[in-house]
C-alpha cells in the first residue's frame, strides 16, 4: 500500500476538483435512478423532468403483487450459483495442471482456454440456440446454468492458475516427501493455499453471470426461466411502455449483494479482473 504523502508542485485544489468531479459523475446518475425507484409512475416521464419527486412505494408494490419476483430471484440464484460450482469443479484441476506441471502443449492449451473469453456471445448465439432447442433445454434454468459456466470457465481457470503459481514449490515438495500423492497434494495443500484466489474467481464469475444478457434473452423466452437481468429487460411492459420505477428498484435489489461481495474481495479485484495478469 502506497504511503499517502503530500506532493509538492501539485495543487491540492486541482486534485480534489478532479476526484470530486468524477465522484459526482459516478454518483449522480445512481442517486437519480434511486429516486426513480421510489417515485410514483406518473412522475417518471413528464414534460419537465422532476428532480424532487413524491416518495412512493408504487414500484415495490408492483413487484410484489404483479411480478413473481421470488421466482426470478430463485432462477437467478440457481443458475448463477450452479454455474460457479461447475466452473470451480472444472477449473481447479485444469488450473492445477497448467500451473504445477510441465507438459507438451501447455502454453497452447492455456492460451486456448484464455481465448474462449474473447469470443463474442453473438458469434455462438445462433448455434447455441439451435443446440438447446434440439436438446429441449430452451426456457430452462439449467440451460442458463450451463451457458454461464461456459462463459466464465476461462476466467476462473486463469485466475486460479495465477494464484497457484504463487504457491512456493517447497510446500508441495515437503508433502511429497511425506508420501502424499498428487491429488492429495491438490486437495490438502494447493486448494487451501490459494483459497483467496478461488473466492475471487467465484465472485467475479458470479457477477459476470448475473450480468449476462444476450444468452439469457435468447434462452429464457418465457417467464418460467427469467432471471433478474432479463426480467428487467422485459419489464418494458408491452402496452404499458417501460416501467422505469420498477426497473430502477430491481436494479438496486441486485446491486446491494454485488456491492457487498466486491467489498469483501476488494484487495483481489484488480488481479481477478485481469485474469491474474496484474498482481495488485
Amino acid at each position: 500500500m502506497a504511503k499517502p504523502i503530500r506532493r509538492r508542485g501539485e495543487s491540492m485544489i486541482l486534485r480534489y476538483l478532479v476526484l470530486g468531479t468524477w465522484a459526482l459523475v459516478c454518483l449522480l446518475p445512481i442517486l437519480w435512478f434511486l429516486s426513480i425507484g421510489f417515485r410514483p409512475r406518473t412522475e417518471v416521464i413528464t414534460p419537465q423532468p422532476i428532480y424532487w419527486p413524491t416518495f412512493s412505494l408504487d414500484a415495490w408494490r408492483l413487484l410484489m403483487s404483479d411480478w413473481p419476483i421470488a421466482l426470478y430471484l430463485r432462477n437467478s440464484v440457481i443458475a448463477v450459483a450452479g454455474s460457479v460450482v461447475i466452473d470451480l469443479v472444472l477449473a481447479i484441476p485444469a488450473a492445477y495442471a497448467l500451473s504445477r506441471y510441465d507438459f507438451k502443449g501447455r502454453e497452447d492449451i492455456g492460451f486456448y482456454i484464455l481465448s474462449t473469453r474473447m469470443m463474442a456471445p453473438a458469434i455462438v448465439a445462433v448455434p447455441i440456440f439451435f443446440l438447446f432447442k434440439t436438446l429441449g433445454l430452451l426456457d430452462s434454468v439449467w440451460a442458463l446454468m450451463l451457458i454461464y459456466a461456459a462463459i466464465n470457465l476461462s476466467l476462473v481457470t486463469w485466475i486460479i492458475r495465477s494464484y497457484m503459481l504463487d504457491i512456493p514449490k517447497e510446500l508441495e515438495d515437503a508433502a511429497r516427501t511425506d508420501g502424499a500423492g498428487d491429488l492429495r497434494i491438490l486437495w490438502e495443500i494447493i486448494i487451501p493455499a490459494c483459497l483467496p484466489g478461488i473466492i475471487t474467481a467465484a465472485v467475479i464469475a458470479a457477477i459476470f453471470a448475473i450480468n449476462e444478457f444476450l444468452f439469457t434473452l435468447l434462452i429464457a423466452s418465457t417467464s418460467r426461466a427469467y432471471t433478474m437481468s432479463v426480467a428487467l429487460a422485459n419489464f418494458t411492459g408491452g402496452s404499458d411502455g417501460i416501467i422505469y420505477n420498477a426497473i430502477a428498484l430491481v436494479s438496486f435489489i441486485a446491486f446491494v449483494p454485488i456491492l457487498i461481495l466486491v467489498i469483501l474481495i476488494q484487495k483481489h479485484l484488480s488481479r481477478g479482473l485481469t485474469m491474474g495478469a496484474v498482481k495488485g
Partner: protein
C-alpha cells in the same frame, strides 16, 4: 515462473515410493487428465458452435427448410452495406469509447493512488460497474431519451436551446452509447491502473522526487512506462469486451438512426433473431469469429505475455 515437473525433479521423486508405483505413462498423462473435463466443456461451446455456424452458413435457412447455397451467403454479406457499416460502427464507437475510458481512468488514477482517502474513492468509482449492464442501459435511455433529463440539464446550463433529439443524429446517437459505456466501464480500468501504480517500486519515484522532478514529470516519465504492461493488458481486455457491445444497443438505440449505431453483435442478433435469416447470421458469425481469432493470436497473446509479472 517456476513449474513443477513431478517425477523429473530427481531428488523429490526418489524420496517418494508412491510415485514410483505409478506407471510412467500415467504420470505423463496425468496433467492431460486433469485438463480433460474443462477442455471438453470449452470445446463443446466453441468448437461445436463454430462448426455448426460454418455448416449453417452454407445454407439459406427459412424457418425449418434449409436450402444449399454454398458460398452464397458470404458473397451476399461481403456486398452488404449494412454488414460493413456494422463493422465500421463497432470500430468507431469502440475506439472513441476505449480512448476516453483510458484517458479518464489514467487521470483519476494519477490523482487518487496516493490520496489518503483512496479506499473511499475506490468504492465510489467502482459503483457504476456493479450495476447490471441492462439496468445501466435503462438509466441512460431514461436520461437521454424518455426522461429528457440530459437535455434539461444542458438547457439550464445554456448549452442548448431546446430538447435534443438524441436519436435523430448519427453522432449524437453514437455518443449516447459511448457515454453509457464510459460511465459503466471506466472503473474497470481505474481499479487496475491504481493497483498497478500502488504496486510500483516507490523508491524510484522517491529518488526522482529528491532530484527535484515534478510530480507530473515523474508520472509521465517513470510511473507510466513502468506500468505499460499493466495498461496493455487492461486496455486489451476492455477492448475485447467493447467489440462485443450488445446490451446498450439493444436497449437504447436498436441500431437507429439508419443503422448508425448497429454493432456487429447487434447485426448478427438482428439477422438471426429478428429476421430469421439464420444462415446469413451464421455467415456473419463465422466472419466475426475469424476476426476474433486473428486479434486473439496477435494482440492478446502478446499483451498477456508481456503482462506476466
Amino acid at each position: 515462473m517456476t513449474t513443477v515437473a513431478p517425477g523429473r525433479s530427481g531428488g523429490v521423486a526418489k524420496a517418494t515410493p508412491k510415485l514410483r508405483r505409478r506407471s510412467p505413462r500415467l504420470r505423463k498423462a496425468f496433467p492431460y487428465l486433469l485438463l480433460t473435463p474443462a477442455m471438453l466443456y470449452l470445446l463443446a461451446i466453441t468448437l461445436y458452435p463454430g462448426l455448426f455456424a460454418i455448416y449453417q452458413s452454407l445454407f439459406v435457412v427459412k424457418f425449418l427448410s434449409w436450402t444449399w447455397t454454398g458460398t452464397g451467403n458470404y458473397s451476399a454479406i461481403l456486398q452488404d452495406r449494412e454488414f460493413w457499416a456494422a463493422l465500421g460502427n463497432t470500430a468507431i464507437i469502440g475506439a472513441i469509447s476505449l480512448s476516453l475510458q483510458t484517458a479518464i481512468a489514467l487521470t483519476i488514477a494519477y490523482f487518487a493512488y496516493r490520496d489518503p482517502f483512496i479506499r473511499g474513492w475506490r468504492i465510489v468509482y467502482l459503483m457504476p460497474m456493479l450495476f447490471m449492464p441492462s439496468a445501466v442501459a435503462f438509466i441512460w435511455k431514461l436520461a437521454f431519451n424518455d426522461g429528457r433529463v440530459i437535455s434539461d440539464i444542458l438547457m439550464t446550463l445554456g448549452v442548448v436551446e431546446r430538447n435534443v433529439d438524441w436519436l435523430g443524429n448519427i453522432w449524437l446517437a453514437r455518443m449516447t452509447l459511448i457515454v453509457a459505456d464510459v460511465w459503466q466501464w471506466t472503473p474497470f480500468l481505474f481499479i487496475i491502473f491504481v493497483a498497478g501504480l500502488q504496486s510500483q517500486d516507490q523508491e524510484i519515484e522517491e529518488a526522482a522526487r529528491l532530484d527535484g522532478a515534478s510530480w507530473p514529470a515523474i508520472f509521465w516519465n517513470i510511473s507510466l512506462p513502468m506500468m505499460r504492461p499493466i495498461i496493455v493488458v487492461a486496455v486489451t481486455l476492455r477492448g475485447i469486451d467493447i467489440t462485443t457491445m450488445f446490451t446498450n444497443v439493444y436497449v437504447m438505440t436498436q441500431g437507429t438512426p439508419g443503422g448508425a449505431t448497429e454493432t456487429m453483435s447487434y447485426f448478427i442478433y438482428r439477422q438471426g433473431f429478428r429476421m430469421f435469416n439464420f444462415g446469413y447470421a451464421s455467415a456473419a458469425s463465422v466472419l466475426m469469429l475469424i476476426l476474433t481469432v486473428v486479434i486473439a493470436q496477435t494482440v492478446v497473446k502478446r499483451a498477456f505475455h508481456s503482462g506476466k509479472s
